[in-house]
Amino acid sequence: MSAASAVFRRELLLAARRPAEWAQPLVFYAIVALLFPLGIEAHDPALKVFAPAIVWVGALLAALLGVERIFRGDLEDGTLEQLLLADAPAPLLVAAKLGAHWLLTALPLVVAAPFLGIALGLEPLAVKVLTLSLLLGTPTLMFTGGFAAALTVGAQRAGILLPILVLPLMTPAVIFGGGAVRAAASGLSFDAPLYFLGALLALTVTLLPFATAGALRNAIE
């Protein structure tokens, strides 16, 4: 675990050196969500209907912003081959790296979500469910994005390839996340979509680091 902790701390140190990189998704997210009310009338009831989708799609796009860079720098400076040669299991190191990225770029989106939900006119219960759904769903977005980033890290045009590859994989999280908030806003039971999000979280966080490490190994061979 000390190796994973070393990777985690290194990511935090690098983020402290480049604050713009981790602040960018949050700013983007806030702009996307807050510009929507300006596009339609502020008291239009449609805003409340679309709010779950706006916040969730905003979170997905914001999470995608920095994903391409997750492994690219490490590939370019030789860190990646050293990490794959290290004594510690590569999936553990990958999980630590993606965990740090989640903390730095996705957790702020979760923290900002209640404010955006209120701004978009959601009821208190729907705001709570929105935040909980993002808390469960954003690690799935991050680990799925990390896997796609590993698959495309050696590709010349990863910027185009990555979103095409990753969007279908991220779709279930958006469907269940948005669905949970819609259900809460309509006074229906929202347990089932949250359970699905939890199941997706368990699957992606436990299995994708192995696939990601395999894709990275493939990239350096």
Partner: protein, 203 residues
């Protein structure tokens, strides 16, 4: 810095084939390296030196043949074309990360950087260092974490005369201390390194 007293197994290679793309760049290769030896792998550009070293180190899988006594991660250092230094971090921070990754948080990074002549640059971002200074910082990793097997790919690249002399001293001390090294270079290794054998790759 002394190498931890370990029973260094002999690295024995037989019938080895290394593929790059759809062709074998190395075929039917056999040799052995024991403790105290420095194996200089020579060959022209494209002869397969780097690919061979990557296979021996475990970064690639061989197309054919066997490698007995291949050192595990705890007992080997890999120094590739790239220095594994993040440009936003200083040599000190980069080395401390590699030491922590191996569980050696108390490694004497300062002494290793001083030995390679980077005392003054210790806390400057690696991105602001010259090519040669970054190579020296990468060499400091070999000293901060003493391990018996060194796999060095073109370690002379980017080093000035003093840097080449430094590498010769490090290799010589490593061999005399019971370590072994496999070094690819298309140019001769510097004078003053004991126990050097040469493997010429022809393809």
């Amino acid at each position: 810095m002394p190498i931890p007293s370990l029973q260094v197994p002999r690295l024995q290679v037989s019938g080895l084939a290394v593929a790059r793309g759809d062709r074998n760049v190395v075929e039917a290769l056999g040799f052995a390296v024991a403790a105290g030896e420095i194996l200089h792998i020579r060959g022209r550009n494209g002869a397969g030196k780097t690919s061979l070293l990557e296979v021996l180190c475990g970064l690639r899988t061989p197309a054919a043949g066997t490698i007995d006594g291949q050192p595990d991660a705890e007992h080997r250092h890999w120094l590739g074309h790239k220095n594994a230094l993040n440009p936003a971090l200083s040599p000190d921070e980069n080395l401390r990360f590699w030491c922590a990754l191996s569980g050696h948080v108390d490694a004497d990074v300062g002494q290793a950087l001083q030995r390679v002549g980077l005392k003054a640059q210790r806390h400057r971002p690696c991105g602001s260092l010259s090519t040669g200074q970054r190579r020296r910082a990468a060499l400091a990793r070999l000293l901060a974490l003493p391990r018996p097997w060194w796999f060095l790919d073109e370690p002379l690249a980017g080093l000035d005369h003093a840097g080449i002399d430094l590498l010769a001293e490090l290799l010589d001390a490593h061999g005399r201390g019971g370590g072994a090294a496999l070094v690819t270079s298309h140019q001769p290794l510097p004078q003053g390194v004991a126990g050097v054998r040469t493997l010429e790759l022809r393809s």
